[in-house]
Amino acid sequence: MTQTVKAAKKTSSSKAAAPAKAAAPAKAKAAAPSKAKATAPAKVTATPEAKKASSKKKSAMAFPFTAIVGQEEMKLSLILNIIDPRIGGVLVMGHRGTGKSTTVRALAEVLPLIPRVKDDIYNRTVEQYVEAESGKKGTPAINPEEVKTEMIPVPVVDLPLGATEDRVCGTIDIEKALTSGVKAFEPGLLAQSNRGFLYIDEVNLLDDHLVDVLLDVAASGKNVVEREGISIRHPARFVLVGSGNPEEGELRPQLLDRFGLHARIITINDVAKRVEIVKRRREYDEDPESYVKKVTRDQQKLQKKIVAAQDLLPQVTMDDKVLTDIARLCMNLGIDGHRGELTITRTAHAYAAYLGKTTVTMAHVKEVAGLCLRHRLRKDPLETVDAGEKIERELAKVLGEGEAAA
């Protein structure tokens, strides 16, 4: 969804004289009428087929991931989640205008391809497909070898704040119901995001009932739709990515807890870096296409590195001693439950793999501990010590203890 800004069906029709946006051709580009849509009827929604076709069309115009200056915490968090989606997503909170959504939307371009059953609306693997469909309601068993597959980019689905529940979970296809009386299921955003990323900008402003839905699905990995006389369950495992500005409101603790990592993002106050940001942005604005072309090699390099890390991940091991240290760190910080330990362990594995290492050391743990634990510390509004500092302090203690024992 992110990268597919559908062409205007009715591009300001008679009112053609639009102001020339000299410095923002990116937006203008996305909105420019394309040949495919020009003939579509003025207002009527595209048919499901047409919809699918257009959503596959990828506009390469997002600002490139590798051209984003600074904000290493956020970038690393996203990359680690690609390497191991079980990390559980990332919450990016911080100052306005620091490139949070730009970065997440740039992610799509560096994501690797995944295989799915051909044209499957739930992006299922052959195994998932066979398990769900084989022998269903008396249909014959499916031979996995006969199932056709295709490669698709890992989906990145944008969940806008104004979405209604039926579009998130999916509902009956109203047109089919009216015209042919068939009760067909029209999949929602959860179906589209299966095995991919689900992104919510301004996540702290998301409506309560949608948060309920998300928590439910994120916990079970399944979306169950029982409404309007249809009964569907389909896999919905996604990496949840949320971003927002903490000053706009708080996040529900249950939702906060769902996010594997918590990246913090602040205004860059280094003049040289900001000059560089401005330079790249202006260059991109002037001619997005050639700018994207210019950094293609960087993008490909990163993608390759991610794929290599994914391949290496199963071979990465961790010493029991490191695990003990992680447990002690979490204990000392007073973190409830085991999600903290689990997240650090997984994230450290992914980080080691990203660096091309096959053994996780405390050095890796140290780099990711803040990301994994920051949001799990009890939040005390009168506390003056920053959560990150607290973690670092405890980490130093644990490391010191470890060395003393050895």
């Binding site: 100052h95 209604t164 579009r167 000053e247 529900r252 205004t267």
Partner: protein, 617 residues
């Protein structure tokens, strides 16, 4: 309709709009101005200087979510039996102007949608079975009166230009405005002037790509942004575009000092979170004027020392009083014997809090689900209605045909109709009013801070909001406008001045104003939490007339009573928490509670949790 060129005064606002017309990628102009300054007339006249046919959409404040982002077109869908999309207001403003009068009164969900559209240049519609992307790349022009409250920072961040607040035009200018309104202007002159202005802007647009800017100039703007403490990096692009547009408007190919100054004035200063020392600011502004140093590294070296001592001084200034305050607060806490005269409120805890903000209704708030109901009793939920009608179409048509009645594409019966249920998501606004006068101020402040924080920790559940007003000296001050954010509360309440007189009347008045403003934003339940001994000694008049510090006791009491009764009549709930240590000298606070029609709690050593319990009970 008054033409752009006929409007007198507000030169900076005019200039801002012209820059936006030259470069729409500045994304918008926000004009804060007092009532009657002609800001909305000017904003509407903006259409005059845009190329002909540019959409200009006036956004009504009571716009619904459907209308804003788009949805299913009821009539057309029923007529055709196909799902027909209706574009929302945001996408209608595509390639044009979205104008909002009284921007600060727009409800927060509408603001979120505008922000989202501005960040994507499009609206994503994922509702009621629709999944569409509509282009919505518009310029936002907003006007507001700061006395109506502030505009959300997130939205201001996406707008390039914020015109510095100006209250009044001078006398002569106002006189001219009046004569213009009365129609003294020659319409031919007006047309000529407009034509000229449009030509100027057109020429500037052509010039725009030819304008260049040196690296030093860019650096100067960035450094100014940093020294003003502007949040985020997006502003850099805006300040650069503003300077370039200004140069283009003057038909220059190079950005000069005037352009830079204008960019600082229109883009950076309105977002400042701190004011740099005067010399420092001038130095930075002059930076670009000096002959450019030959090497880039040298330039950085030169700038670094100018920056560092400044930052250090800043840190020292900010941290020292903070630390002293913390120490004093801690000292006060240990001084007070624990549990003395404490009243435990735990037993009084009611389940009431759980039910707040939960009610479903037929009209207001966020669309949650569809239920059976009468067509007239609310808004029809089209898709659910169609779904319940769908299975019967064949039989109904058959029946009608038998009776010889002609039918449309669809037959909807009364029992099919589903109406939308909305959830009014606003919870309660707790307005804390803390007596910061006298010796107990620090202790009260600490209690209030704790209670604010504790309430906010649970705010997401009920969509509650908290505001904090402190009163001392001559008047009350809103320290924390209604907010849901712990982080914001933490920041705003960091350093609090204390001591001086007790302007209780001003506090009540300010609280009431805050309450009224919140009402306009759809928050219906409001509760005052007053932490005071109830002894006001400064009249309301002192808040605007510095010399009127004294007033007879009876008058003070009368004043407080009048305001308190009005607040009670207005349906605002109150509690008064008396923190007076001397049990015998009580008497004023219970009276205040009575006048407000609220409850009274005597908690000389209240813990934050107790205050919260009192507020929720």
């Amino acid at each position: 309709m008054i033409a752009f060129t006929d409007i007198v005064g507000m030169d900076l606002a005019k200039q801002a709009l012209m820059l936006l017309a030259v470069d729409p990628s500045l994304c918008g102009v926000v004009i804060p101005s007092a009532v009657g300054s002609g800001k909305s007339t000017l904003a509407r006249a903006f259409a005059d200087i845009l190329p002909e046919g540019t959409p200009f959409v006036d956004l009504p404040l009571n716009v619904t979510e459907d209308r804003l982002i788009g949805g299913v077109d009821l009539e057309a869908t029923l007529a055709t039996g196909l799902r027909v999309v209706q574009h929302g207001v945001l996408s209608k403003a595509h390639k044009g102007v979205l104008y909002v009068d009284s921007l600060s009164l727009l409800d927060s969900s509408a603001v979120s949608h505008i922000m989202d559209a501005m960040s994507r240049g499009a609206v994503i519609v994922e509702r009621e079975g629709l999944s569409e992307v509509h282009p919505a790349d518009f310029m936002l022009v907003g006007t507001y009166d700061p006395s109506d409250g502030e505009v959300r920072m997130g939205l201001l961040d996406r707008v390039g230009i914020i015109v510095p607040f100006a209250t009044q035009n001078d006398y002569r200018a106002r006189k001219k405005i009046v004569s213009t309104v009365l129609g003294e202007r020659n319409s031919e002159d007006t047309q000529d002037e407009l034509r000229m202005l449009r030509g100027l802007i057109e020429a500037a647009r052509v010039q725009l790509p030819n304008v260049s800017m040196t690296k030093e100039q860019i650096k100067g703007l960035i450094q100014t942004a940093i020294s003003l403490g502007v949040e985020g990096n997006r502003v850099d692009i805006f300040s650069i575009r503003c300077a370039i547009a200004s140069a283009a408007l003057a038909q220059r190919t190079e950005v000069d000092d005037e352009d830079l100054k204008l960019a600082v004035k229109l883009v950076l200063v309105p977002r400042a979170t701190r004011m740099p020392e005067r010399e420092a600011a001038e130095e930075e502004m002059q930076g670009p004027d000096e002959p450019p140093p030959p090497e880039e590294t040298e330039a950085e070296d030169e700038e670094a020392p100018a920056d560092t001592p400044d930052a250090d001084a800043e840190e020292e200034q900010e941290e020292t009083p903070d630390m002293i305050e913390e120490l004093m607060m801690e000292a006060m806490e240990t001084e007070l014997p624990d549990n003395i005269l404490n009243i435990s409120l735990a037993s009084k805890k009611k389940a009431k809090s759980g039910s707040r903000g939960e009610a479903l209704n037929n009209r207001r708030g966020r669309f949650v689900r569809a239920q059976e109901g009468e067509m007239k009793s609310g808004k029809v939920a089209l898709i659910p209605t169609l779904i319940s009608a769908a299975p019967w179409q064949a039989t109904r048509k058959e029946e009608k045909r038998k009776k010889g009645i002609k039918t449309g594409a669809l037959i909807i019966n009364k029992e099919d109709v589903k109406i939308k249920k909305f959830r009014d998501k606003s919870g309660t606004l707790f307005i804390f009013m803390v007596d910061a006068s006298g010796s107990m101020a620090l202790n009260r402040m600490r209690q209030a801070k704790g209670a604010v924080a504790s309430l906010l920790q649970n705010a997401y559940v009920h969509r509650d909001q908290v505001a904090l007003i402190s009163f001392r000296g001559k008047s009350a001050q809103v320290l924390l406008p209604p907010s849901q954010s712990v982080d914001r509360a933490k920041r705003e309440l960091d350093v609090l001045p204390t001591g001086g007189g007790t302007p209780l009347a001003s506090a009540l008045f300010t609280g009431w104003e805050t309450a009224k403003l919140a009402r306009t934003k759809g928050i219906s339940q409001i509760m005052f939490v007053m932490i005071t001994d109830g002894r006001g000694n400064i009249p309301l008049q002192a808040s605007y007339e510095p010399n009127a510090e004294k007033a007879p006791k009876e008058e003070l009491e009368k004043e407080i009573e009048a305001i308190a009764l009005s607040i009670q009549a207005d349906g605002v709930a109150s509690i008064v928490i008396d923190t007076q240590m001397n049990y015998l000298s009580r008497g004023e606070a219970p009276k205040l509670a009575q006048k407000l029609g609220g409850r009274y709690f005597y908690l000389p050593n209240a813990k934050a949790e107790q205050i919260v319990e009192a507020a929720l009970s």
